[in-house]
Amino acid sequence: MSEFLLEMRNIDKSFFQVKILDDINFDLLPGEVHALVGENGAGKSSLMKILMGIYSRDAGTILLDGEEVNFHTPREALSAGIAMIPQELNPILDMQVAEYLFIGREITHTNMGPVSIVDHKAQIEQAKNLFEDTGVDINPRHLMRNLSVAQIQLIEIIKAISLDSKVIIMDEPTSAITFKEVDTLFEQIRKLKTKGVGIIYISHKMEEISEIADRITVLRDGKWIGTDTAQNLSKEKIIKMMVGREIKEVYPKVKVELGDVALEVRDLLLKDKFQKISFSLRNGEVLGIAGLVGAGRSELVETIFGISKPEFGEVLVHGKPIKIQHPMVAIRNKIALITEDRSATGLNLKTTVEHNISFVQLSKLARFGFINNKLERKKVEQMVGKLRIKAFSLKSMVNSLSGGNQQKVVLAKWLLSEPEIIIMDEPTRGIDVGAKRDIYLLIGELAKAGKAVLMISSEIPELIGLCDRIITMAGGRLTGEIPRDRFSQEEIMHYASKFEVRE
């Protein structure tokens, strides 16, 4: 018997005659965390989907415990002991949290196949226990519909971990959660390791990789570049293997003279979401909002943008109050919002890259309502080039893109609208190091051009590196405001986890 828990040998995969995986080898030892890294579109998720039986492979073999396996459906992979936390969150919105957690493996009173009676109480209890073990505060009776992106991601993590699998694939499990939950996740991973579970860990966050990985495999453009132990691979070396050139992961902060107040929020209130929030943002400024999961940051910016209606308070743009009742008004006032949940609010997955990117700006690319296709194509191509979006063609459906590239499409769509005030909610979610740097540079450029940037991020180093000022939220309230000269991880965490009201 082989020492490996899992071996994938010589895997090939093409879509429409384009090779996206070329002779890939990958293996996993029991009790090991094997990180899989690579640029957006390198083929990480596709390799894992092949393992799960979601995609079929064109060539290659897969061995589990030394025996060849061939999964045609995720059902087979699951019953063979492989579980996955998917990169794209695709929850069943009208289900209760507990039900969702146990879908496909319901807890039943008796065993009578499909007509077994579901033990709803036991599921709720079990869910509660799981949440308690992992320190997550979610009511198992709530509908999935009412959860934030971060909470859904936590549910997915718990779902996969609770499956008692031999192999757990984690495809960017931390893209939406904050440091607090990441710590809990790592604790769980360490527990699983002692039980001999093998974990495949995909992430673009280098700190996480160096903290948790035992071995690292790098992919680039669908090709295997190398595998080595974590000790042998420095951060710089990994990045060089990934992108083929060196990237210094520093934050290219540019000093900009601050201009007039561009956006002012006064006493904004939405019951149960956030309470009487006031702040202002100036031209040329990059303002960060820090907070934990469920702090209400996303709800706040969505309200500013007119997606939800506030119950109290006002929003002023360049000193003039605007009536926030529809995003249309915000867009007319040259505000852009890069939303957090790309599949739910950022993209139209049923259409092409081109049509997604041009959508907000469409009426400006048209005359009397008739679209100027040449102009549209030109503008979109510029954006695709600028953000280095990897797609077969502009006419590719956006859901065939890798997660990171989808995120870039959302960015492209909003940047094309030439906004003056740019609000970004977790803009670098799922984006590789190289591209992140591009986005950081872009934010700098925007600030330099006198635009105002409001940025929510759960990656505190990112905020520290880019912002002029950071405000913190906790439990729906503003808990602190920190100028650049006082930035430190500890200070921000302190305010972000502060629950008492600051009067």
Partner: protein, 321 residues
Amino acid sequence: MKTSAKKKTLKWNSLRELGILLAFIVVLVTLMILSPTAFAKPANLLNIVKQASINGILATGMMFVIISGGIDLSVGSIVALSGVIAASFAHPGEYPLIVPIVLSALAGLAAGVLNGVGVAYGNIPSFIVTLGSMTIIRGLALIYSKGQPIFGVTDEFEALASGFAFGSIPILVIYFLIITAISAFVLTKTVYGRRVYAVGGNEITAKVSGVSVKRIKIAVYSISGLLAGVAGLLLASRIVSGQPTSGQSYELDAIAAVIIGGVSMSGGSGKWYGTVIGALMIAVIGNGLDILNVSSHFQLLIKGSIIIVAVLLDVKGKRNQ
């Protein structure tokens, strides 16, 4: 804080679900006021439930299909096919009563299985599969019966859907209750039921969670077909003949009952009692307008308006919560 949130959700959920019930009660009370002697009589109220039964049975099957994210247009044709089959085996002195019963149910089931296979394995939109089978099955019913109604069934056969149980409760109502009870149980309590919701809620996620989506789909169309077969049998008994043209546009009424009851056309949500209320609502409107002797042309006007207004009340009720 946690518990208060919980309470709120519960209260909100039940109110939300009551929306259509309230609308139903409004319609009911209005009719009772307009016709206190005829409409409000207990005998008439039972009569209404009886008249709702066949559509209610179809709607129950339809509910499974719609919750799973599909649609079944073929139920009306299945009613006709299973009706003519049942009647043709119910002539006096030929076969025992069980034969038409079993054969008509089997015919419905077979049609449903084929629909399910078409949707699940053929990967064809359910609208097309069942539109096609609606046409095909209607053709079969006409060919089987040579385009003529089949008369001359036994008294026992006629008694299947006529007659009363426990004194004055129409037997059709009892069938409807039993079928509803079983369906409600399957939908809310069993693994299968939960998976129907999952498939309708998000097929890909259901698949990734290890649910055999194909099997669930075949099962929902089979249930719908089987229940349509039963409905066809009962209708044939009720009209004492098998008519190849019966059941026309029954699918619309069944879908309407389901949607009025708050099941979303896009699948994944909805409650069984909504469907019951939806079926009752349709029957109540028809009965009330007949009793009030509203002229046929105006009946159409009023029927359409009540349906829209009822659902509007439901939707507004939900939103104001």
